[in-house]
């Protein structure tokens, strides 16, 4: 027979482990739903099984002469010098959002070549840029 003390302990331990497992699953699930994968235009165009409508980060350079602004949106083209994707954006652009400069757009693909951004990041100054971007630019050169 188990003593009361041992019983209590087993009860406590099972409870503890169950809570822990539930908690980790809960966290992992939310984490998975909120991961933003970083892609380049070539990744999106050459890869056939990119989900349309899933949130991603798209990085590259803003193509020369591609920025077109109207009163409620900005359209521009992100290029990695092999492929291009048109981006439509309705928010505020960051410092140094310029043509022929690096940019990261957060949003989703509406169709194969058309990207709706809900956030646009660019570098804050000459020394700072998203590291993902650095590599894209390095590879392009």
């Amino acid at each position: 027979m188990l003593t009361k003390k041992v019983k209590n302990r087993i009860l406590f331990l099972t409870l503890f482990i169950t809570i822990l497992v539930v908690f980790i699953f809960y966290l992992a699930k939310i984490l998975n739903n909120n991961l933003l994968f970083f892609k380049t235009p070539s990744d999106l165009i050459e890869n056939q099984n990119i989900k349309i409508g899933k949130s991603i980060r798209l990085g590259g350079m803003v193509k020369k002469n591609s920025i077109v602004a109207t009163s409620d949106e900005i359209k521009f083209i992100i290029t990695d010098f092999k492929n291009e994707i048109i981006v439509s954006y309705k928010g505020a652009v960051p410092n140094l959002f310029l043509e022929e400069k690096g940019v990261v757009a957060e949003g989703f693909l509406k169709d194969k070549k058309y990207f709706i951004a809900n956030r646009v990041l660019a570098k804050h100054d000459e020394n700072y840029m998203p590291p993902e971007l650095k590599e894209v630019i390095k590879n392009a050169k």
Binding site: F38, A69, I74, F97, D125
Partner: protein
């Protein structure tokens, strides 16, 4: 000249630190002990003075623009205002490391001074461990990140300080945060010393309580100030972005908060000793980890200074040694704890607080470091979006707030009072007020309602505590009440701010108008101005409130700094107690259109004040002592 002085002084400081370590070993070896604690107080005083002089030497280098020092050359410019020349000293990696060392040394000295008369073995062990930490960082400073490195030949002009760092809030933000961050080193050392020397239980709790409190207060202030800076300087129009750097200042804060509470259990009930030790060790470890994450450039954040992998490596090695050493001692020396808990007692609730803190900490840690693991393991680049934090943390805040209200009144050991009536009355009151708020404005999600209700409950409950203690004529220092009230208000105002913000981004030409909800925004003119260290394009916007016919003029700027050549957007913010009007302007390539972000953010001022209130609670208790 200054460079040589600086280098020599750092070298002397290393020798001095080594001698403190040497004398500590002698003192701890009973046969060789032929001097008292007084000697250490003297040595520590020299060490503190010397560190300060080194720091002032670097400041002098900045003030007189001595560009033969590489650090000054990289981060300063002759045309920069004097104030930013001085604050530029700690606005870079090397200088901030020097500040870090100063805090380490100061805490070491103060701890020694305050505890001169207590258990000497414990005291000297603490000093010994602390000086190992100081030595580690001094060597790092001297070998790897020397602020006094020379540039040959001497450049005529410096490169200038990043304009987004040229800001008063950012001038005091690092020193405040460092007192919190690095101040935690002293109870890291004390914890290791306690394990070795056997000074445990409530004795130990009394020794570290003050220091936990001090670092917690400054950490709270430092985080708040950083958040205020991000709000008006980065132009993103929010106050918290779950950026890795924000996360790494928040993680030690959670552990400090947990420690602040569990230290009380250790002091009053002599329980949870091992747990307190773990928390002590964790706080400083997390502080160093945070520094490693942001300084090494592994994570992408605003604080990533020019990247240098060797720095990251050094901190990583240092960190590993520190953790390994601490854990070994902990396993070897830790004695079995005894726990006698009854379900309904203050200690149980404090333990619950600690579990909540552990949850918050773990969640944020996972979110922050997960991208590193995926990058290393699968070569895919990911980032964790803010929704992750919002979804995981916000629901858990609700029960946390409720417990935070009830727990402080429960007595130690076992509570027999029954305050069900009070609780139900206050919950009903909170629900009523919540329904009024949402009825008159608009309806919102379930979770928002619950957040508002639970924060109101905390506010009312804390206030009623205050009045009942006042009635009973127990004039206790209301530090707990102030801090808890501050937290309740903080969540309450964040809830309102989140639900009643108006935000609109649009593009507009000079002379055009745009209507946003009940505001009419007129873009009246554009002017060019020239200032000491930048040129700016200033837009003039008249914002008319159609409802109450109020009119505000907002003038956001696009600044072009010359040294280094940088473009920044300065938000124009009109602050009232009830709301902020926030407007940023940016130009769009090749068009006449300007990109505008307009926001009406309710209660921003109240959010800052509540956060400051939290730390005021802590300061009240410090000064009571």
């Amino acid at each position: 000249m200054l460079s040589n002085t600086g280098n020599t002084l750092i070298f002397i400081n290393i020798i001095l630190t080594l001698s403190i370590i040497y004398f500590s070993f002698q003192f701890l070896n009973k046969e060789k002990r032929n001097f008292g604690v007084k000697k250490f107080v003297e040595l520590s005083l020299y060490q503190t003075t010397l560190s300060l002089i080194i720091f002032f030497t670097l400041i002098l280098g900045f003030v007189f623009s001595d560009f033969s020092i590489e650090n000054v050359y990289r981060n300063s410019h002759t045309l920069k205002p004097l104030f930013y020349k001085i604050t530029g000293t700690w606005g870079n990696h090397e200088g901030s490391l020097l500040l870090w060392i100063n805090v380490l040394v100061f805490f070491s000295y103060l701890f020694l001074l305050f505890n001169k008369k207590s258990n000497h073995i414990f005291l000297i062990y603490t000093l010994l461990i602390q000086n190992f930490l100081i030595l580690g960082f001094l060597l790092f400073l001297f070998v790897n990140s020397n602020p006094f490195s020379l540039v040959v030949p001497k450049p005529l002009e410096g490169l200038g300080l990043n304009p987004i760092l040229q800001d008063p809030a950012l001038a005091i933000h690092p020193p405040l945060l460092y007192v919190g961050f690095v101040g935690s080193s002293i109870y890291f050392s004390a914890a290791v010393a306690s394990l070795i020397s056997g000074l445990t239980g409530s004795e130990f709790a009394k020794k570290i309580k003050l220091w936990v409190l001090i670092s917690w207060c400054f950490q709270t202030l430092g985080i708040t100030l950083g958040s205020i800076w991000a709000y008006y300087e980065l132009g993103w129009g929010g106050f918290w972005f779950w950026d890795p750097v924000e996360n790494s200042s928040l993680m030690p804060w959670f552990v400090m908060t947990a420690l602040l509470h569990s230290v009380m259990v250790l002091e009053k009930r002599n329980m949870l000793y091992s747990w307190v030790i773990i928390l002590c060790l964790m706080t400083f470890t997390l502080s160093v980890t945070g520094t490693f994450l942001v300084r090494s450039g592994i994570l992408n954040s605003v604080h990533t200074f020019a990247n240098d992998p060797s720095r990251g490596l050094y901190i990583l090695v240092f960190l590993s040694v520190m953790i390994f050493f601490a854990i070994t001692i902990f396993i070897k020396k830790n004695k079995k704890d005894h726990y006698i808990f009854s379900g309904y007692s203050k200690e149980t609730f404090i333990l619950a607080n600690n579990w909540f803190m552990a949850f918050f900490l773990f969640t944020i840690l996972v979110g922050t470091v997960y991208p590193i693991f995926t990058e290393v393991l699968t070569q895919t680049k990911v980032s964790v979006g803010p929704p992750f934090y919002n979804i995981t943390i916000i629901p858990i805040v609700i029960p946390f707030l409720l417990l935070m209200a009830i727990a402080p009144n429960i007595s130690w050991i076992k509570d027999r009072t029954n305050n069900l009536k009070k609780i139900s009355f206050l919950i009903i009151l909170s629900i009523l007020i919540n329904s009024i708020i949402f009825h008159f404005f608009k309806s919102m999600s379930l979770i928002s309602n619950l957040i508002i209700i639970s924060s109101l409950f905390l506010i009312f409950y804390t206030l009623s505590d205050f009045f009942s203690s006042y009635k009973k004529k127990i004039y206790l220092v209301p530090s707990r009440i102030v801090s808890h009230l501050g937290f309740g208000l903080l969540i309450f105002f964040i809830g309102l701010n989140h639900n009643f913000s108006i935000e609109k981004d649009f593009n507009i030409k000079v002379g055009e108008k745009k209507s946003v909800e009940n505001f009419l925004i007129n873009f009246e003119s554009l002017n060019l101005i020239e200032k000491e260290n930048y040129k700016a394009i200033v837009g003039t916007f008249r914002v008319d409130n159609k409802k109450n016919l109020n009119s505000n003029t907002l003038s956001p700027e696009i600044r072009i700094y010359s040294q280094p050549e940088t473009l920044t957007y300065e938000a124009s913010i009109r602050t009232r107690l009830s709301h902020d009007l926030y407007l940023t302007m940016s130009n769009i390539n090749r068009t006449e259109l300007y990109n505008i972000k307009f926001q009406k953010k309710p209660f921003m001022m109240m959010i800052w004040l509540s956060a400051i209130l939290i730390s005021i609670g802590g300061f009240l208790r410090i000064f009571k002592k």
